[in-house]
């Protein structure tokens, strides 16, 4: 054994990368570089993470109680306005019932995220099941799923959601279920075409030849390979569900008062548009920022996992 060889071995043992390893970064490193090189994805993650933290720690960081009404302190403007009542006790002011607006904003984030996430889970389960089955089996199954999909698409979402909620009465779980049952269409469309592309590939044929059962092929062969599409659609649909919840609450048939939903906060403030328009601006902007961050995240994930699909 020569001395040079010994030296190389020592280097390898010490964990110092050799020349080849430096030239070829690991897949993880490539992914990491892609994520951090994607500005809008980073922005999306940062904003969304802060809103999620805001929602989780709403009880700790809020200056007050979201339901605490103090009528003597109603309609205090936020701190960037001038006025005798403006104070740092209420950084975003108070609403027409004297409730601290910042606190309600924090607690409203909880409701938006919770409804958006659970409605997305329900619709994702329905849409993915239908889409994967249609894409894998094709033929009659595909025709049936296509029929259900066309029927669903021909029903106007907001109108049907409003009508159904008004007939059975509004509550948090009713809103979640109605939205979940209505917005699965994009999941079905995307999962169907993704599965169709996978169906004919060698690894699926190999799994069939090995005698794997159909559920096994669907769940452990096809699903992991279309998971990136699933995540992208899931983020976009969560954003969609959040916007729909806000619209329903705005029209008075979503989240019910006194709960602090951002859509409901805009609705409660719309009568004051002539006098205290910041009451509309703040929750509306929060909603816009949340939906924007989720969309940036979804678009970013699509770009990073499948750069060839970027348009």
């Amino acid at each position: 054994m020569t001395e040079q060889n010994m030296a190389e071995r020592t280097i390898a043992r010490a964990g110092i990368p050799t020349a080849e390893e430096i030239l070829e970064p690991t897949p993880g490193a490539i992914l990491q570089r892609r994520i951090f090189g994607h500005t809008s994805l980073v922005i999306g993650i940062v904003i969304l993470a802060s809103i999620i933290l805001m929602a989780i720690f709403a009880g700790v960081i809020s200056p007050g109680d979201p339901y605490d009404q103090v009528l003597s302190r109603k309609l205090i403007p936020p701190i960037w306005h001038d006025g005798p009542k403006v104070s740092w006790t209420h950084p975003l002011g108070t609403d027409s019932l004297g409730r601290d607006y910042l606190t309600r904003l924090f607690y409203g984030a909880r409701i938006s995220l919770f409804i958006g996430f659970t409605a997305m889970l329900i619709s994702g389960l329905i849409g993915t099941t239908l889409g994967v089955l249609a894409g894998y089996f094709g033929g009659r199954v595909d025709m049936l799923v296509n029929f259900i999909l066309t029927t669903r698409l021909s029903l106007p979402v907001v109108l049907v959601a409003l009508a159904v909620i008004s007939l059975i009465g509004s509550s948090l779980s009713v809103v979640i279920w109605v939205l979940g049952l209505l917005i699965w269409d994009r999941f079905a469309v995307v999962m169907r075409s993704a599965t169709q592309q996978m169906r004919g590939l060698e690894f699926v044929t190999a799994a069939k030849a090995l005698g794997c059962s159909t559920p096994r092929i669907l769940l452990s062969e096809i699903m992991p390979n279309i998971a990136n599409h699933l995540i992208v659609v899931a983020t976009l649909e969560m954003a969609h569900a959040i916007l729909l919840e806000a619209a329903l609450s705005f029209l008075g048939l979503g989240v019910q008062p006194p709960q602090p939903s951002w859509g409901l906060m805009v609705s409660e403030a719309k009568g004051l548009i002539f006098f205290d328009s910041w009451l509309i601006g703040i929750p509306g902007f929060a909603l816009f920022t949340l939906v924007l961050s989720i969309n940036l995240l979804g678009d970013g994930i699509r770009d990073v996992t499948a750069p060839e699909n970027r348009n």
């Binding site: 159904v164 916007l243 806000a246 705005f250 029209l251 678009d299």
Partner: protein, 305 residues
């Protein structure tokens, strides 16, 4: 073509029938429809009477078929609240919503097609970034908040446009912008993707090599082919817009179908709600049918598969 058209028509009829079953079953959503109609002080006899008068005591299939046959004759029942024929009320309100939808679509196309073409001709340029920003913002903007914000600045602070009603064309400016902006991102992205695709194809290279003027290549050769999927997307989105105009019409107090729907929901006026859902769904089904037939007519490849 005929075989394709007949098949597509058959699917449309089946979908319409399924939608009618769903719409009909809304009567049974609150549980017992007779109980839902009766006031709280109603006795058991009153409830039985209501059940008999409205025909809820018949077998459910008979009730559905009766309702369907009447609906096919344009009879959607009487509005519980207005005590008028639901179909008449709807057809009185429909033109306003159609005008709003057409204006909104015109705005959306006028914004998204030039932007999409510009973005595709100069990819990664400042136009492309601007178009992308317009799309990303449009997807995240809650329409009711956008509407109120426009109202605040253009209506209240600058006093440029009226904020409610339908007296003149100026009343339709803000609602059309809000409703149109909602469909802009999808149309813009599709125009851009289609143009990018077409511009890199062989026949465009040939046209350029022949020395045709760039504008002629762009509009006559490229856009014509890229616009086809945009047309069918736009017609589908028009259907969505009519359903989505409920929020906009409520905010701007536009006396159209959406506002009627909202009023009927507030008044628990079930026959009215059912009629509106059915009319909008059937309208959407017709739109997609027409779009599909048009596409199949223009592009023979669709008919065969």
């Amino acid at each position: 073509m005929l075989a394709y058209a007949l098949k597509r028509l058959g699917v449309a009829v089946l979908v319409a029938l399924t939608v009618s079953v769903i719409t009909f079953s809304m009567v049974y959503l609150p549980g017992d429809p007779a109980m839902a109609l009766a006031p709280e002080s109603a006795s058991q006899e009153d409830i039985e009477h209501i059940r008999h008068v409205y025909g809820f005591d018949r077998p459910i299939t008979v009730q559905y078929l009766d309702w369907l046959v009447k609906a096919l004759h344009g009879n959607f029942g009487r509005s519980h609240y207005l005590n008028e024929d639901a179909a008449t009320v709807i057809f009185n309100r429909l033109p306003t919503t159609m005008i709003l939808g057409a204006c909104a679509m015109a705005f959306a196309l006028a914004l998204s097609i030039p932007l999409g073409v510009l973005a595709a001709v100069h990819p990664n340029s400042i136009f492309d970034r601007f178009a992308l920003t317009v799309a990303v913002v449009g997807q995240a903007m809650p329409s009711f908040w956008f509407a109120l914000t426009l109202m605040l600045w253009f209506g209240i602070n600058w006093r440029l446009l009226p904020i409610t009603g339908t007296d003149s064309w100026r009343n339709f400016v803000m609602p059309s912008v809000v409703l149109g902006y909602y469909v802009t991102p999808a149309v813009m992205r599709l125009t851009r993707a289609g143009m990018l695709d077409v511009l890199s194809s062989d026949y465009i290279r040939t046209a350029r090599a022949k020395g045709l003027r760039p504008m002629r290549v762009l509009f006559k050769h490229a856009l014509r082919n890229a616009i086809l999927p945009v047309v069918s997307l736009a017609s589908v989105q028009f259907g969505f817009m009519l359903g989505g105009s409920i929020v906009i019409e409520t905010i701007f107090a536009i006396n159209g179908l959406g506002f009627l729907a909202w009023e009927s929901i507030q008044r628990a006026d079930l026959p009215m709600m059912q009629a509106i859902v059915l009319v909008l769904s059937v309208f959407y089904i017709l739109l997609t049918l027409l779009a599909d037939l048009l596409n199949a007519f223009l592009d023979p490849r669709i008919r065969v598969t």
